[in-house]
Protein backbone atom coordinates (compact mmCIF):
# COMPACT_ATOMS: atom_id res chain seq x y z
CA UNK A 1 0.00 0.00 0.00
CA UNK A 2 1.32 3.45 -0.95
CA UNK A 3 0.45 6.40 1.29
CA UNK A 4 0.45 10.01 0.20
CA UNK A 5 0.81 12.82 2.74
CA UNK A 6 0.14 16.23 1.19
CA UNK A 7 1.04 18.88 3.73
CA UNK A 8 -0.15 22.47 3.86
CA UNK A 9 1.84 24.36 6.51
CA UNK A 10 -0.74 26.66 8.07
CA UNK A 11 -2.79 27.27 11.18
CA UNK A 12 -5.79 25.17 10.22
CA UNK A 13 -8.87 24.47 12.29
CA UNK A 14 -10.87 22.53 9.70
CA UNK A 15 -10.81 21.56 6.02
CA UNK A 16 -13.28 20.32 3.41
CA UNK A 17 -12.87 18.93 -0.06
CA UNK A 18 -15.89 19.76 -2.20
CA UNK A 19 -16.43 19.71 -5.95
CA UNK A 20 -13.00 20.88 -7.06
CA UNK A 21 -12.13 23.14 -4.17
CA UNK A 22 -10.35 22.85 -0.85
CA UNK A 23 -11.99 24.93 1.86
CA UNK A 24 -9.75 25.67 4.82
CA UNK A 25 -10.76 27.41 8.03
CA UNK A 26 -7.93 28.93 9.99
CA UNK A 27 -7.92 29.31 13.79
CA UNK A 28 -9.62 32.68 13.45
CA UNK A 29 -12.43 30.72 11.73
CA UNK A 30 -11.82 32.48 8.40
CA UNK A 31 -12.67 30.41 5.33
CA UNK A 32 -10.01 30.22 2.59
CA UNK A 33 -10.88 28.72 -0.80
CA UNK A 34 -8.24 26.93 -2.88
CA UNK A 35 -8.57 25.43 -6.34
CA UNK A 36 -7.74 21.71 -6.50
CA UNK A 37 -6.64 22.22 -10.12
CA UNK A 38 -4.06 24.75 -8.90
CA UNK A 39 -2.85 22.38 -6.19
CA UNK A 40 -2.61 19.48 -8.62
CA UNK A 41 -0.67 21.64 -11.09
CA UNK A 42 1.82 22.53 -8.36
CA UNK A 43 2.28 18.85 -7.44
CA UNK A 44 2.91 17.98 -11.09
CA UNK A 45 5.36 20.87 -11.43
CA UNK A 46 7.28 20.19 -8.22
CA UNK A 47 7.13 16.39 -7.89
CA UNK A 48 6.57 14.95 -11.38
CA UNK A 49 3.92 12.83 -13.08
CA UNK A 50 4.11 9.73 -10.85
CA UNK A 51 3.37 11.70 -7.68
CA UNK A 52 0.76 13.76 -9.52
CA UNK A 53 -0.96 10.57 -10.68
CA UNK A 54 -0.91 9.30 -7.12
CA UNK A 55 -2.38 12.55 -5.80
CA UNK A 56 -5.02 12.64 -8.48
CA UNK A 57 -6.29 9.21 -7.57
CA UNK A 58 -5.67 9.16 -3.78
CA UNK A 59 -6.83 12.65 -2.91
CA UNK A 60 -8.89 14.31 -5.60
CA UNK A 61 -10.76 11.66 -7.53
CA UNK A 62 -11.22 8.29 -5.87
CA UNK A 63 -14.79 8.01 -7.14
CA UNK A 64 -15.82 4.87 -9.01
CA UNK A 65 -15.64 6.37 -12.51
CA UNK A 66 -12.05 7.47 -12.09
CA UNK A 67 -11.20 4.39 -10.08
CA UNK A 68 -12.20 2.08 -12.93
CA UNK A 69 -10.13 3.87 -15.55
CA UNK A 70 -7.21 4.36 -13.16
CA UNK A 71 -7.17 0.70 -12.13
CA UNK A 72 -7.16 -0.23 -15.82
CA UNK A 73 -4.16 1.99 -16.38
CA UNK A 74 -2.40 0.54 -13.37
CA UNK A 75 -2.87 -2.96 -14.76
CA UNK A 76 -0.25 -1.96 -17.36
CA UNK A 77 2.90 -3.52 -15.86
CA UNK A 78 5.17 -0.55 -16.54
CA UNK A 79 2.77 1.89 -14.86
CA UNK A 80 2.25 -0.37 -11.86
CA UNK A 81 6.01 -0.81 -11.52
CA UNK A 82 6.58 2.95 -11.68
CA UNK A 83 4.11 3.52 -8.84
CA UNK A 84 5.44 0.65 -6.75
CA UNK A 85 9.00 1.88 -7.21
CA UNK A 86 7.88 5.32 -6.17
CA UNK A 87 6.34 3.95 -2.97
CA UNK A 88 9.32 1.74 -2.21
CA UNK A 89 11.82 4.57 -2.69
CA UNK A 90 9.86 6.73 -0.23
CA UNK A 91 9.55 3.99 2.39
CA UNK A 92 5.81 3.61 1.76
CA UNK A 93 4.75 7.20 2.36
CA UNK A 94 5.29 9.96 -0.17
CA UNK A 95 5.23 13.44 1.34
CA UNK A 96 4.57 16.56 -0.67
CA UNK A 97 4.46 20.17 0.45
CA UNK A 98 1.50 22.16 -0.82
CA UNK A 99 2.02 25.86 -1.47
CA UNK A 100 -1.29 27.04 -2.84
CA UNK A 101 -2.49 30.58 -3.15
CA UNK A 102 -6.09 31.01 -1.97
CA UNK A 103 -8.65 32.15 -4.50
CA UNK A 104 -10.31 34.17 -1.76
CA UNK A 105 -11.25 34.45 1.87
CA UNK A 106 -15.02 34.03 1.92
CA UNK A 107 -16.72 36.08 4.60
CA UNK A 108 -20.02 34.28 4.41
CA UNK A 109 -18.31 30.96 5.16
CA UNK A 110 -16.32 32.47 8.03
CA UNK A 111 -17.58 32.91 11.55
CA UNK A 112 -16.62 34.80 14.66
CA UNK A 113 -17.42 31.77 16.83
CA UNK A 114 -15.14 28.83 17.49
CA UNK A 115 -15.81 26.34 14.73
CA UNK A 116 -16.49 22.82 16.00
CA UNK A 117 -17.70 21.11 12.85
CA UNK A 118 -18.51 21.74 9.20
CA UNK A 119 -20.81 19.90 6.86
CA UNK A 120 -21.30 20.63 3.17
CA UNK A 121 -24.23 19.02 1.43
CA UNK A 122 -26.09 20.01 -1.73
CA UNK A 123 -24.15 23.29 -1.84
CA UNK A 124 -25.32 24.15 1.69
CA UNK A 125 -22.57 24.83 4.18
CA UNK A 126 -23.32 24.16 7.85
CA UNK A 127 -21.01 25.75 10.41
CA UNK A 128 -21.34 24.26 13.88
CA UNK A 129 -19.80 26.49 16.52
CA UNK A 130 -19.53 26.77 20.28
CA UNK A 131 -22.53 29.12 20.29
CA UNK A 132 -24.74 28.36 17.31
CA UNK A 133 -25.27 26.48 14.07
CA UNK A 134 -25.19 28.54 10.88
CA UNK A 135 -26.25 27.76 7.33
CA UNK A 136 -24.65 29.30 4.29
CA UNK A 137 -24.28 28.42 0.61
CA UNK A 138 -21.51 27.72 -1.86
CA UNK A 139 -21.75 27.57 -5.62
CA UNK A 140 -18.92 25.27 -6.76
CA UNK A 141 -18.51 27.11 -10.07
CA UNK A 142 -18.01 30.36 -8.14
CA UNK A 143 -16.73 29.24 -4.75
CA UNK A 144 -15.34 32.63 -3.83
CA UNK A 145 -18.70 34.38 -4.13
CA UNK A 146 -20.09 35.89 -0.98
CA UNK A 147 -23.52 34.61 0.07
CA UNK A 148 -25.72 35.13 3.08
CA UNK A 149 -25.36 33.23 6.33
CA UNK A 150 -28.30 32.39 8.56
CA UNK A 151 -28.39 31.19 12.16
CA UNK A 152 -30.17 27.86 12.32
CA UNK A 153 -29.88 26.91 15.98
CA UNK A 154 -28.66 28.89 18.97
CA UNK A 155 -26.86 26.19 20.94
CA UNK A 156 -23.34 24.84 21.05
CA UNK A 157 -23.38 22.26 18.25
CA UNK A 158 -20.60 19.69 18.40
CA UNK A 159 -21.48 17.76 15.25
CA UNK A 160 -23.66 18.37 12.23
CA UNK A 161 -24.70 15.88 9.56
CA UNK A 162 -26.79 16.49 6.45
CA UNK A 163 -28.21 13.98 4.02
CA UNK A 164 -31.55 13.12 2.37
CA UNK A 165 -32.83 16.69 2.52
CA UNK A 166 -32.34 17.00 6.27
CA UNK A 167 -29.78 18.42 8.63
CA UNK A 168 -29.16 16.99 12.10
CA UNK A 169 -27.37 18.94 14.81
CA UNK A 170 -25.84 17.33 17.90
CA UNK A 171 -26.13 19.95 20.63
CA UNK A 172 -24.78 17.60 23.31
CA UNK A 173 -26.96 17.87 26.45
CA UNK A 174 -29.18 20.39 24.66
CA UNK A 175 -30.40 17.60 22.45
CA UNK A 176 -30.50 16.35 18.88
CA UNK A 177 -32.16 18.66 16.39
CA UNK A 178 -33.62 18.00 12.95
CA UNK A 179 -34.32 20.56 10.26
CA UNK A 180 -35.43 19.94 6.69
CA UNK A 181 -33.59 21.76 3.93
CA UNK A 182 -35.05 24.36 1.62
CA UNK A 183 -33.96 23.42 -1.91
CA UNK A 184 -35.22 26.55 -3.58
CA UNK A 185 -32.07 27.80 -5.35
CA UNK A 186 -33.47 31.29 -5.76
CA UNK A 187 -34.37 31.67 -2.10
CA UNK A 188 -32.25 29.07 -0.34
CA UNK A 189 -32.50 30.55 3.15
CA UNK A 190 -33.66 28.11 5.81
CA UNK A 191 -37.41 28.09 6.16
CA UNK A 192 -37.94 25.32 8.66
CA UNK A 193 -37.22 25.80 12.35
CA UNK A 194 -35.23 22.90 13.81
CA UNK A 195 -37.20 20.41 15.85
CA UNK A 196 -35.75 18.70 18.91
CA UNK A 197 -35.85 14.97 18.20
CA UNK A 198 -33.54 13.58 20.88
CA UNK A 199 -32.47 14.25 24.46
CA UNK A 200 -28.72 14.01 24.00
CA UNK A 201 -26.27 13.73 21.10
CA UNK A 202 -22.53 14.35 21.08
CA UNK A 203 -21.61 12.88 17.72
CA UNK A 204 -23.52 11.75 14.64
CA UNK A 205 -22.89 9.28 11.88
CA UNK A 206 -25.00 7.69 9.15
CA UNK A 207 -25.64 4.02 8.71
CA UNK A 208 -27.62 3.54 5.49
CA UNK A 209 -30.58 5.92 5.84
CA UNK A 210 -30.47 5.77 9.63
CA UNK A 211 -28.53 7.98 11.97
CA UNK A 212 -26.39 6.87 14.88
CA UNK A 213 -26.38 9.49 17.65
CA UNK A 214 -23.53 8.88 20.07
CA UNK A 215 -24.34 9.84 23.64
CA UNK A 216 -22.75 9.26 27.04
CA UNK A 217 -23.92 5.63 26.87
CA UNK A 218 -21.77 2.75 25.58
CA UNK A 219 -24.02 2.29 22.54
CA UNK A 220 -25.35 5.07 20.30
CA UNK A 221 -29.03 5.73 19.72
CA UNK A 222 -30.18 4.32 16.40
CA UNK A 223 -32.60 6.70 14.75
CA UNK A 224 -34.58 5.25 11.85
CA UNK A 225 -35.63 7.93 9.43
CA UNK A 226 -39.03 8.29 7.81
CA UNK A 227 -39.79 10.27 4.70
CA UNK A 228 -40.92 10.20 1.11
CA UNK A 229 -39.43 10.29 -2.36
CA UNK A 230 -39.82 13.86 -3.57
CA UNK A 231 -38.51 16.16 -6.28
CA UNK A 232 -36.08 18.33 -4.29
CA UNK A 233 -36.86 21.36 -6.44
CA UNK A 234 -38.92 22.29 -9.48
CA UNK A 235 -36.18 21.61 -12.04
CA UNK A 236 -35.08 18.27 -10.56
CA UNK A 237 -35.08 15.39 -13.06
CA UNK A 238 -35.21 12.66 -10.43
CA UNK A 239 -36.94 12.08 -7.14
CA UNK A 240 -34.92 11.57 -3.99
CA UNK A 241 -35.66 10.29 -0.50
CA UNK A 242 -36.34 13.19 1.85
CA UNK A 243 -36.34 12.73 5.61
CA UNK A 244 -39.32 14.12 7.47
CA UNK A 245 -39.00 12.56 10.91
CA UNK A 246 -37.04 10.03 12.97
CA UNK A 247 -37.93 7.27 15.37
CA UNK A 248 -35.57 5.59 17.80
CA UNK A 249 -35.00 1.89 17.25
CA UNK A 250 -34.42 0.47 20.72
CA UNK A 251 -33.41 -2.96 19.43
CA UNK A 252 -29.78 -1.96 18.77
CA UNK A 253 -28.51 -3.13 22.18
CA UNK A 254 -30.11 -6.57 21.88
CA UNK A 255 -29.02 -7.00 18.29
CA UNK A 256 -25.42 -6.05 19.08
CA UNK A 257 -25.32 -8.22 22.20
CA UNK A 258 -26.64 -11.26 20.41
CA UNK A 259 -24.19 -10.78 17.53
CA UNK A 260 -21.24 -10.47 19.90
CA UNK A 261 -22.51 -13.33 22.03
CA UNK A 262 -22.26 -15.62 19.05
CA UNK A 263 -18.51 -15.29 19.33
CA UNK A 264 -17.65 -15.12 23.01
CA UNK A 265 -19.18 -15.76 26.42
CA UNK A 266 -20.42 -12.69 28.26
CA UNK A 267 -18.73 -11.79 31.55
CA UNK A 268 -20.51 -10.08 34.45
CA UNK A 269 -20.20 -6.24 34.40
CA UNK A 270 -18.67 -6.43 30.96
CA UNK A 271 -20.20 -3.79 28.70
CA UNK A 272 -19.54 -3.73 24.96
CA UNK A 273 -18.72 -0.22 23.79
CA UNK A 274 -19.25 1.19 20.31
CA UNK A 275 -16.04 2.98 19.30
CA UNK A 276 -17.72 4.33 16.18
CA UNK A 277 -19.10 3.34 12.82
CA UNK A 278 -18.21 3.57 9.17
CA UNK A 279 -21.58 3.55 7.41
CA UNK A 280 -23.09 0.15 8.25
CA UNK A 281 -19.96 -1.17 9.97
CA UNK A 282 -20.05 -0.72 13.73
CA UNK A 283 -16.68 -0.97 15.48
CA UNK A 284 -17.19 -2.55 18.89
CA UNK A 285 -14.73 -2.92 21.77
CA UNK A 286 -15.42 -5.77 24.12
CA UNK A 287 -13.17 -7.67 26.49
CA UNK A 288 -10.12 -5.85 25.07
CA UNK A 289 -11.04 -7.24 21.69
CA UNK A 290 -12.34 -5.24 18.75
CA UNK A 291 -15.01 -6.59 16.45
CA UNK A 292 -16.82 -5.13 13.47
CA UNK A 293 -20.55 -5.75 13.22
CA UNK A 294 -22.44 -5.12 10.00
CA UNK A 295 -25.77 -3.44 10.70
CA UNK A 296 -28.67 -3.92 8.31
CA UNK A 297 -31.08 -1.09 9.05
CA UNK A 298 -33.24 -1.12 5.95
CA UNK A 299 -36.49 0.81 5.74
CA UNK A 300 -39.51 -1.15 6.87
CA UNK A 301 -37.43 -4.06 8.16
CA UNK A 302 -36.32 -5.07 11.64
CA UNK A 303 -32.71 -4.27 12.47
CA UNK A 304 -30.33 -7.14 11.80
CA UNK A 305 -26.60 -7.56 12.35
CA UNK A 306 -23.85 -10.02 11.64
CA UNK A 307 -20.10 -10.15 12.31
CA UNK A 308 -18.07 -8.62 9.47
CA UNK A 309 -15.97 -11.47 8.12
CA UNK A 310 -13.58 -9.26 6.15
CA UNK A 311 -12.50 -7.08 9.06
CA UNK A 312 -12.71 -9.53 11.94
CA UNK A 313 -10.26 -11.98 10.42
CA UNK A 314 -7.45 -9.39 10.50
CA UNK A 315 -8.48 -6.86 13.14
CA UNK A 316 -5.82 -6.27 15.78
CA UNK A 317 -6.50 -3.32 18.14
CA UNK A 318 -3.64 -0.83 17.64
CA UNK A 319 -4.25 0.59 21.13
CA UNK A 320 -6.36 -0.27 24.20
CA UNK A 321 -9.97 0.74 23.62
CA UNK A 322 -9.92 3.41 26.34
CA UNK A 323 -7.06 5.14 24.49
CA UNK A 324 -9.29 5.79 21.48
CA UNK A 325 -10.27 9.45 21.34
CA UNK A 326 -12.56 9.16 18.35
CA UNK A 327 -13.11 7.10 15.24
CA UNK A 328 -14.10 8.25 11.75
CA UNK A 329 -15.55 6.45 8.78
CA UNK A 330 -13.89 6.15 5.38
CA UNK A 331 -14.92 3.97 2.49
CA UNK A 332 -12.24 1.38 3.15
CA UNK A 333 -12.79 1.19 6.90
CA UNK A 334 -12.10 3.24 10.00
CA UNK A 335 -9.74 5.97 11.08
CA UNK A 336 -8.81 5.71 14.75
CA UNK A 337 -7.47 8.75 16.58
CA UNK A 338 -5.47 8.31 19.77
CA UNK A 339 -3.62 10.84 21.88
CA UNK A 340 -0.56 10.92 19.65
CA UNK A 341 -1.36 8.97 16.51
CA UNK A 342 -3.87 8.38 13.75
CA UNK A 343 -4.41 4.86 12.40
CA UNK A 344 -6.26 3.49 9.39
CA UNK A 345 -8.05 0.17 9.80
CA UNK A 346 -9.03 -1.63 6.62
CA UNK A 347 -9.86 -5.25 5.88
CA UNK A 348 -6.13 -5.61 5.09
CA UNK A 349 -5.07 -4.62 8.60
CA UNK A 350 -3.95 -1.59 10.58
CA UNK A 351 -1.74 1.17 9.15
CA UNK A 352 -0.22 4.07 11.06
CA UNK A 353 -1.20 7.22 9.15
CA UNK A 354 0.38 9.87 11.34
CA UNK A 355 2.52 9.68 14.44
CA UNK A 356 1.51 13.06 15.83
CA UNK A 357 -1.14 14.76 17.94
CA UNK A 358 -4.16 15.68 15.84
CA UNK A 359 -5.99 18.88 16.58
CA UNK A 360 -8.82 17.61 14.41
CA UNK A 361 -9.47 14.74 12.02
CA UNK A 362 -11.93 14.92 9.16
CA UNK A 363 -13.09 12.31 6.70
CA UNK A 364 -15.54 12.61 3.79
CA UNK A 365 -17.53 9.36 3.75
CA UNK A 366 -20.54 10.99 2.03
CA UNK A 367 -18.40 12.55 -0.68
CA UNK A 368 -18.39 11.14 -4.19
CA UNK A 369 -14.74 11.95 -4.89
CA UNK A 370 -13.00 11.82 -1.54
CA UNK A 371 -14.47 8.82 0.29
CA UNK A 372 -11.09 7.52 1.43
CA UNK A 373 -9.30 10.80 2.11
CA UNK A 374 -8.32 11.64 5.68
CA UNK A 375 -7.57 15.22 6.68
CA UNK A 376 -5.58 15.69 9.85
CA UNK A 377 -5.11 19.12 11.33
CA UNK A 378 -2.05 19.25 13.59
CA UNK A 379 -0.53 22.06 15.63
CA UNK A 380 0.87 23.79 12.55
CA UNK A 381 -0.28 21.97 9.43
CA UNK A 382 -3.03 20.32 7.43
CA UNK A 383 -2.25 16.82 6.23
CA UNK A 384 -4.31 15.44 3.35
CA UNK A 385 -3.73 11.70 3.52
CA UNK A 386 -4.56 9.17 0.85
CA UNK A 387 -3.63 5.58 0.17
CA UNK A 388 -3.57 3.22 -2.76
CA UNK A 389 -3.25 -0.55 -2.97
CA UNK A 390 -1.17 -0.79 -6.11
Amino acid sequence: MIHLDAVLRADVRDAWLYKGVLLVWDRQNRAFVYSLDDIQAQILRDYGPEVAALANYCLWRNDWRTANSTQTLVSVPAIRKALRDLGASAGGTISVELKPQPLAIVGSLSTEKHLLDVQIYANRVYLATTEALFESYIKPEHPADERETWPLLEHRVADVEARHGAVFAAAEEDGLWLSTINFDEDAWRPVHQPERVGEEAHRLSWTHRSLLAYTSQPLPDLLRTQGHDVRPHGNARFTAFAIESVEQDTSLGDVVSSTLADRRARMPDDVPVALGNSNYRLLMAWQEDWQVIDLRAFSGQALKAKPDQGFNSTLQPPVPSNAVLQTYGVQSGFVVETFDSVHLITASGVQLLLNEQAARVRTYPDSVRHKDVVSVMTDDALHLLGHWNV
Binding site: D11, R13, R27, H114, L116, T130, A158, E172, E173, H202, R203, Y214, T215, S216, Q217, V271, N322, A323, L325, Q326, E337, F339, Q357, A358, A359, R360, M377, T378, D379, D380
Partner: protein
Amino acid sequence: MACEIVEVRNDMTEFKACTGSTYLSLNYHHGAPDRHKTKWALAREEECGVFCHAQEQDWDDGDENLWSIGQNGSLIYGKTQERMAFFDGSNASDTWHGFPVSGRSGTSNRRRPPQTIAQRWLNQGHINKATYERIVSGRL
Protein backbone atom coordinates in the same frame (compact mmCIF):
# COMPACT_ATOMS: atom_id res chain seq x y z
CA MET B 1 5.97 23.42 50.53
CA ALA B 2 4.65 19.98 49.55
CA CYS B 3 1.38 18.38 50.57
CA GLU B 4 1.38 17.02 54.13
CA ILE B 5 -0.90 14.28 55.43
CA VAL B 6 -3.02 15.54 58.32
CA GLU B 7 -5.16 12.49 58.96
CA VAL B 8 -6.01 9.15 57.36
CA ARG B 9 -9.69 8.36 57.85
CA ASN B 10 -11.91 5.48 56.79
CA ASP B 11 -13.16 7.20 53.67
CA MET B 12 -10.45 9.74 52.84
CA THR B 13 -7.00 11.10 53.47
CA GLU B 14 -6.82 14.71 54.57
CA PHE B 15 -3.90 16.84 53.40
CA LYS B 16 -2.67 20.28 54.21
CA ALA B 17 -1.93 21.44 50.69
CA CYS B 18 1.02 23.61 49.71
CA THR B 19 -0.99 26.83 49.82
CA GLY B 20 -2.43 25.95 53.24
CA SER B 21 -5.80 24.79 51.91
CA THR B 22 -7.35 21.52 53.11
CA TYR B 23 -7.37 18.86 50.42
CA LEU B 24 -9.39 15.65 50.82
CA SER B 25 -8.32 12.63 48.80
CA LEU B 26 -11.53 10.59 48.74
CA ASN B 27 -11.38 6.80 48.75
CA TYR B 28 -14.12 6.43 46.16
CA HIS B 29 -11.87 8.11 43.60
CA HIS B 30 -9.23 5.44 44.14
CA GLY B 31 -9.31 1.72 43.41
CA ALA B 32 -10.58 -0.30 40.50
CA PRO B 33 -12.26 1.61 37.64
CA ASP B 34 -16.03 1.58 37.48
CA ARG B 35 -18.64 3.46 35.48
CA HIS B 36 -19.81 5.65 38.35
CA LYS B 37 -16.69 7.42 39.66
CA THR B 38 -13.46 8.19 37.89
CA LYS B 39 -10.36 6.88 39.68
CA TRP B 40 -6.97 8.48 40.14
CA ALA B 41 -4.05 6.69 38.54
CA LEU B 42 -1.79 8.72 40.86
CA ALA B 43 -0.71 8.19 44.44
CA ARG B 44 -2.60 10.40 46.91
CA GLU B 45 0.36 12.74 47.46
CA GLU B 46 0.66 13.21 43.69
CA GLU B 47 -3.09 13.85 43.49
CA CYS B 48 -2.72 16.58 46.08
CA GLY B 49 0.28 17.89 44.12
CA VAL B 50 -1.90 18.24 40.99
CA PHE B 51 -4.34 20.25 43.10
CA CYS B 52 -1.51 22.42 44.45
CA HIS B 53 -0.27 23.17 40.97
CA ALA B 54 -3.77 24.20 39.83
CA GLN B 55 -4.14 26.43 42.88
CA GLU B 56 -0.72 28.02 42.44
CA GLN B 57 -1.46 28.69 38.78
CA ASP B 58 -4.92 30.01 39.67
CA TRP B 59 -6.66 27.79 37.13
CA ASP B 60 -9.98 28.89 38.57
CA ASP B 61 -13.04 28.81 36.32
CA GLY B 62 -14.71 31.70 38.15
CA ASP B 63 -17.23 29.33 39.67
CA GLU B 64 -15.08 28.24 42.65
CA ASN B 65 -13.66 25.25 40.78
CA LEU B 66 -10.09 24.52 39.75
CA TRP B 67 -8.96 22.53 36.71
CA SER B 68 -5.62 21.00 35.88
CA ILE B 69 -3.81 19.39 32.98
CA GLY B 70 -0.24 18.26 32.36
CA GLN B 71 1.96 19.96 29.77
CA ASN B 72 0.16 19.45 26.44
CA GLY B 73 -2.08 16.91 28.12
CA SER B 74 0.78 14.44 28.28
CA LEU B 75 0.11 13.22 31.84
CA ILE B 76 -2.49 10.57 32.51
CA TYR B 77 -4.32 11.33 35.76
CA GLY B 78 -7.06 8.70 35.69
CA LYS B 79 -7.25 4.95 35.33
CA THR B 80 -9.33 5.21 32.16
CA GLN B 81 -6.92 7.60 30.45
CA GLU B 82 -8.28 10.85 31.91
CA ARG B 83 -5.80 13.65 31.25
CA MET B 84 -7.44 16.48 33.17
CA ALA B 85 -8.56 16.99 36.75
CA PHE B 86 -11.42 18.88 38.33
CA PHE B 87 -11.29 20.24 41.89
CA ASP B 88 -14.53 21.21 43.54
CA GLY B 89 -14.10 24.06 45.98
CA SER B 90 -17.75 24.88 46.41
CA ASN B 91 -18.59 22.52 49.28
CA ALA B 92 -16.89 24.18 52.22
CA SER B 93 -14.57 27.06 52.90
CA ASP B 94 -11.09 26.32 51.56
CA THR B 95 -11.71 22.57 51.65
CA TRP B 96 -11.24 20.82 48.36
CA HIS B 97 -11.55 17.46 46.72
CA GLY B 98 -11.03 16.43 43.14
CA PHE B 99 -11.08 13.71 40.54
CA PRO B 100 -9.80 13.00 37.03
CA VAL B 101 -11.99 14.03 34.08
CA SER B 102 -11.74 12.84 30.51
CA GLY B 103 -12.96 15.84 28.53
CA ARG B 104 -14.12 13.51 25.80
CA SER B 105 -17.28 13.62 23.76
CA GLY B 106 -20.03 12.06 25.84
CA THR B 107 -18.75 13.57 29.06
CA SER B 108 -21.17 15.89 30.80
CA ASN B 109 -20.54 19.59 30.07
CA ARG B 110 -20.10 20.15 33.82
CA ARG B 111 -17.15 17.77 33.76
CA ARG B 112 -15.36 19.47 30.89
CA PRO B 113 -13.28 22.60 31.45
CA PRO B 114 -14.82 25.81 30.18
CA GLN B 115 -13.21 27.32 27.10
CA THR B 116 -11.84 30.20 29.20
CA ILE B 117 -9.66 27.77 31.16
CA ALA B 118 -8.40 26.09 28.00
CA GLN B 119 -7.66 29.53 26.55
CA ARG B 120 -5.67 30.43 29.68
CA TRP B 121 -3.64 27.22 29.41
CA LEU B 122 -2.96 28.03 25.75
CA ASN B 123 -2.00 31.63 26.49
CA GLN B 124 0.39 30.48 29.23
CA GLY B 125 2.06 28.09 26.79
CA HIS B 126 1.03 25.20 29.00
CA ILE B 127 -0.78 23.48 26.14
CA ASN B 128 -0.28 23.59 22.39
CA LYS B 129 -2.94 24.47 19.84
CA ALA B 130 -3.75 20.83 19.12
CA THR B 131 -4.50 20.18 22.79
CA TYR B 132 -6.57 23.35 22.99
CA GLU B 133 -8.64 22.24 19.98
CA ARG B 134 -9.14 18.84 21.55
CA ILE B 135 -10.35 20.27 24.83
CA VAL B 136 -12.81 22.64 23.16
CA SER B 137 -14.16 19.96 20.84
CA GLY B 138 -14.24 17.22 23.49
CA ARG B 139 -11.52 14.86 22.30
CA LEU B 140 -8.95 14.56 25.06
